[in-house]
Symmetry: C2
Subunit: 209 residues, 2 copies
Amino acid sequence: MESLRPKISRSVIPRLSVYCRALVAYKDSGVISSDKLSELTGRTAAQIRRDIAYFGQFGTPGKGYVVEELKKRILEILGINRIWDVALVGAGNLGAALLSYKGFKEQGFNIAAAFDNDRNKIGKKLRNVPIRHIKELSRVVKNKKIQMAIIAVPAEEAQKVIDTLLKNGVRAILNFAPIRPAGGASTEIINIDLSIELEKLAHFLNRPK
Amino acid sequence: MESLRPKISRSVIPRLSVYCRALVAYKDSGVISSDKLSELTGRTAAQIRRDIAYFGQFGTPGKGYVVEELKKRILEILGINRIWDVALVGAGNLGAALLSYKGFKEQGFNIAAAFDNDRNKIGKKLRNVPIRHIKELSRVVKNKKIQMAIIAVPAEEAQKVIDTLLKNGVRAILNFAPIRPAGGASTEIINIDLSIELEKLAHFLNRPK
DNA sequence: TAGATTGTTAATCGATTAACAATC
DNA sequence: TAGATTGTTAATCGATTAACAATC
């Protein structure tokens, strides 16, 4: 029997994103060492080699990694060598800001549909994306085969929205509502709770010295 | 010699925020067990007891924790039993959304000043907060003794803004610009990189089954 | 060959969980 | 007292770092 896939530390994945960006920005010769990449990303060289080695051997001892090759492989691993359609639920202040966020498009994330329940917004366009009524969420997500969503609705509505999304094939959610949502097995929900981030800062400032 | 303060796991602090909210929402009797709190927060009872015990003994064996007491202590530990003034740098889409974010005020964070470099915005008010030119950043932050800031400016400007803030007494920063900023020792910088979050989701969807 | 750098193993560090004696 | 639940210790699990043999 082949060896089982080694379990990869969860924190490796976001670091791959960081390496990838450094590689995209790196305009020097065709080869880069873990040491140089360490300098560019602030992670240790040992960690970089370890992280990369989870996915195979792409380096050459004594030389380093071929930049284009490594970049391509990381893009494949992360699944960002393509465009992803994303549904945005909630077109209030935060939702509208996310719709305009340039970084998403740059990294290949396309907000393909936006939803709200505010009659005044429905039918209007934001950044060329029409705002639809939230009752159309199921239909549109299913039709467009959208697998990824961002949630920027009030806490009270978030769980209902999540349930609807999961029922219609969305399996990955970035949630800004301050709840601990119930997901499911083959489902990934990342929660960003902005107040909690500030509370971490408050604690830092508040610590006895 | 007294025993040194035990090193507290970094991940304890955001969990305290979660416990705290559950306690605020908890309207039952005056006492709560780690088991009940576990049910409300989704963390294990053992972890909850462990987390709380880092800061002293507030529970009664056989009974549980007095809700009001525990809540008060957590607020103290987190340093959120007060209002914190926050500077917002960058009043674009994201910045404006953060200025309107209700969760901040609810949790005691007050955006006391906002800055941008767009002539069209300067002098206008957003949610009753006047937008100032970024060249006033040093002066205002120093005058108002602001210790906490949120950064929502483009990547190219972020490091410069951070340097200015640190030079003027701000020691805790929530940074939305997609850079790995250089901070300093007595400084806390939390980075939220929205594209990286979506890349984590992309990787999840892309994983071989 | 000599020098450089990878990939990998073992050691270390840190966080979580399980178990239970102490306590009310 | 009997039952319940804390606080704490030891065991487990997971992630990072250091070191170096293998390799170009």
